[in-house]
């Protein structure tokens, strides 16, 4: 049966919101495999559940809302997969946890710089969201290797992004 115009518009609006939800939840295909990697590398199940839920709920909500912040989530998760995969290697190669953390920080610098480069025209809030998502993703494996590794990943991401922004600022002057 044919619908009246307002009813039709309402149905279409509902379909649009469902479409946004589907779009937001598509990050499941990235986050769940990364969580499985974390589980395989010995992260605790509770911590993984907490981080994965946090990533999916906060990231999903931002993606559903849209705008610059929404589009900053997935690049953050993807950038975070670099320190995520480097953490077990660094922990295996270095005898001292602090050395492993420094090695991880050096690798995380690349991810931080890449995010800062992407966020140049999108504003600082967008960069903060990306960095948060990257750190949460990196923690999926870093946590199993101790707090030093989490600190190393966080400092590396921050140093990379701040360093690139400072270099760009200097270049402009």
């Amino acid at each position: 049966m044919a619908m009246t115009e307002p009813a039709q518009q309402q149905a279409v609006r509902r379909a649009y919101e469902f479409g946004r939800l589907r779009y937001a939840l598509r990050m499941l295909w990235v986050v769940l495999p990364l969580a499985c990697v974390g589980l395989a590398l010995g992260s605790s199940l509770e911590a993984l559940l907490c981080l994965t839920t946090l990533l999916l709920v906060a990231g999903g909500w931002l993606r559903w809302k849209g705008g610059r912040l929404g589009s900053a989530v997935l690049p953050g998760v993807l950038a975070g997969s670099l320190p995520l995969s480097a953490a077990p290697v660094a922990a295996g190669c270095c005898a001292m946890p602090s050395h492993a953390a420094v090695a991880l920080a050096l690798i995380a610098v690349i991810a931080g710089a890449a995010l800062a480069m992407r966020a140049r025209q999108r504003g600082r809030a967008s960069l903060m969201v990306s960095l948060g998502a990257a750190l949460a993703t990196a923690c999926l494996t870093c946590m199993s290797n101790g707090p030093w590794m989490v600190l190393g990943a966080a400092l590396g991401l921050l140093a990379g992004s701040i360093g690139l922004l400072a270099l760009r600022g200097e270049g402009r002057q």
Partner: protein
């Protein structure tokens, strides 16, 4: 849909895809008539035409988050609509056995043909406009002045020369098509 409306549609779909809900009304106002026309042609005489328009609108707006800026907005909308129409017709024909498969496909293809022809015509007019703008102002005036009443041989000659220059410039810029 003219060029301005096409640009508005692209901008509205881009904003909607980025999550800007305030663009919904504008996008709906632009997409709805285009889809009604397309589905109306593709399913002419079909008892479920109205439902098909509704389903197609729901399908298009449900997938608008996948729209990428710079894509031809109308082509994107109509491609989704064509798939939806084909699916609906196939389902109806399976259910009732009243519509032959060949005629259904022909109806959808004919609707797509009409839209393609309109787009080609619009492009040709734009290209001609661009060529005319490159002629000198005198030739432009002669070519664009309306044909009213009998003309003096001199005027006819001038118009003929301007037309020749237009043809030659067209061939230089667009080849022999």
């Amino acid at each position: 849909m003219n060029d301005e409306e096409l640009q508005q549609l692209d901008s509205a779909l881009t904003r909607l895809a980025a999550g800007d809900r305030s663009a919904f009304e504008q996008a709906f106002a632009l997409v709805s008539p285009a889809l009604s026309q397309f589905v109306g042609k593709a399913m002419a005489g079909h008892p479920e035409r109205e439902d098909a328009v509704q389903n197609t609108l729901v399908r298009v707006f449900g997938r608008v988050s996948d729209y990428r800026p710079g894509t031809n907005a109308l082509a994107w909308v109509l491609t989704l609509a064509a798939f939806e129409v084909a699916t609906l017709r196939k389902r109806t024909s399976r259910d009732s056995g009243r519509y032959g498969g060949g005629s259904e496909a022909l109806a959808v293809l004919s609707a797509l043909d009409d839209i393609e022809n309109a787009a080609l015509e619009r492009e040709a007019v734009q290209r001609l406009g661009a060529v005319v703008r490159q002629l000198d102002p005198g030739d432009q005036r002669v070519l664009l002045s309306p044909d009213v009443g009998p003309k003096a041989p001199r005027e006819r000659k001038r118009k003929q020369r301007a037309l020749d220059r237009l043809k030659s410039l067209w061939r230089t810029l667009n080849g022999n098509d």
